[in-house]
Amino acid sequence: MTIFSEGHRDQDPATGISSIMARTVADVRLPAGLLDQAVARNRRRTVRNRVISATSTVAVAAAAAALVFSLPGGVAPSGTGTSAAAHQPRPVPKMQTAAYVLAHANAAQVNSRTMISVARAVDGTMYTDVATQQQRYITGIRASNGQPYFEWSDIIKGGIWTETMVVNQGRVYSVETARGSDAGSISTLLPLQAQSNPVAAFNTALKQGTIKVVGHQELDGRDTILLRVNREATRCEKPGYPAIAKANCSNGEPVSAQPPPDDEVWIDASTYLVVQTKNYKPSPTAVNGTWPSFTTTVGWLPPTPANLANLSSTPPRGYTKIPSTGLVKYLGPIS
């Protein structure tokens, strides 16, 4: 018998409140399907976080771009920025000052803050408006009629978070909303909120050696700069990285016996915008020395009316609106 066992609960005559509570919930029974719904939503969240993880790398890498251009003589050929800079014959500039970092981090981000990123991976495409953090995800899984199996979009407007999910396979959709009691609460729903301070992210990465500058690399005919981001060193800390990166942590420390390779990020050498990422999955571990990975290509669009329209999921005419809890019926097979 545990302290939670019902038989352990004495009816305290001194209060009566226990008795009222017992009467109040006496008929409560666990409904069938609650675990199914939790499993489906957990997997849906995993899919979403995986894509968000890739787009979050964009912001971290944008901060890391400051490192690239703060190195004397350009990009270090290999190794960390700090160690490469230390071996230059010329005096090392004061790249460590917050003001210096801030200026470059802002310069690296200014090209993206009015843009719409389009991150394409094998499992789907994520549109993100960097300014408003409005997002739309379209799965790469196809329904029987050839359309995407499902898609969703999130928007926060007027303090109200709204998610529209359309399941083409079942010709149904749901609309969920949540209202924040204050700006701080609603900000927890922002997909990129963990990277809202690029200077802090940069300083942390620099201090921990989690970002390394590999050097120039041609990618599909484009001059890029390759960075390597070591998530393993920081993923168990909080805050700073998405929840999925904190998997396989115990007491704030990674439990993986063999850490995955560093993630790779390619930045356009002229615009500093990320054009491709390669992320290694924390699990399962490597087989024959090869780690499972997924590559995401990132495009950038100006906020024209046509491009902004890509951020919304609009249910086609004839689709049936259902509660979000009913989506598991349609998403179960693929969630």
Binding site: I3, F4, I20, M21, L34, R43, R179
Partner: protein, 177 residues
């Protein structure tokens, strides 16, 4: 059930303890639908670590529920709250137990009037029968904070619920009556 094999153990565990967990969640939320949402969210969080959880999954699940109940999980609630009558409320009322239905409604409404911490403290102390120290550990606060939250919560419950019940003389804090 999706992936029944992987979560078969969890399904068996819920089959045994799910009702008790949901009852706590209904009081913490408070309300039937809110309780289901709270338990479902706690399950979601536990699923992320399920293969690595060793020992007492119920304690783990309850800690998540208490933490989420206190730190504003309601923001992410997917459904508007409906006060928590069971599905068979109509039949229940028809069976000449309307006074009990009133009592249950009164309690849920009174719990809804408390702050999340007060509500969690009262549920932990007077439903779970946890000690002040155990409640403090569950809520992540000090024992003195538990005492204050419980005392204020009970006082507010007494004021809100007493007109509906015969329990007015008894709604005093445990140990201080």
């Amino acid at each position: 059930m999706p992936d029944n094999g992987r979560y078969g153990d969890l399904a068996a565990f819920l089959g045994e303890r799910g009702d008790a967990l949901l009852r706590t969640a209904v009081l913490l939320a408070p309300g039937r639908e809110g309780g289901e949402d709270l338990l479902q969210e706690a399950l979601e969080r536990m699923l992320r670590k399920w293969p690595r959880i060793q020992g007492d999954p119920e304690g783990y699940l309850r800690r998540i529920m208490y933490h989420r109940a206190v730190d504003g999980w309601r923001l992410r609630s997917r459904r508007p709250e409906v006060l928590g009558l069971p599905e068979d409320a109509a039949a229940f009322t028809a069976a000449d137990h309307s006074d009990r239905v009133d009592l249950r409604l009164a309690l849920i409404q009174a719990l809804a009037g408390l702050t999340p911490r007060q509500r969690a403290a009262v549920v932990a102390r007077h439903w779970e029968q946890l000690s002040e120290a155990e409640t403090a550990a569950a809520l992540g606060c000090s024992v003195s904070a538990v005492k204050a939250a419980t005392s204020r919560g009970l006082r507010m419950l007494r004021e809100a619920i007493a007109p509906e019940t015969e329990y007015l003389p008894y709604l005093t804090e445990r140990g201080s009556a």
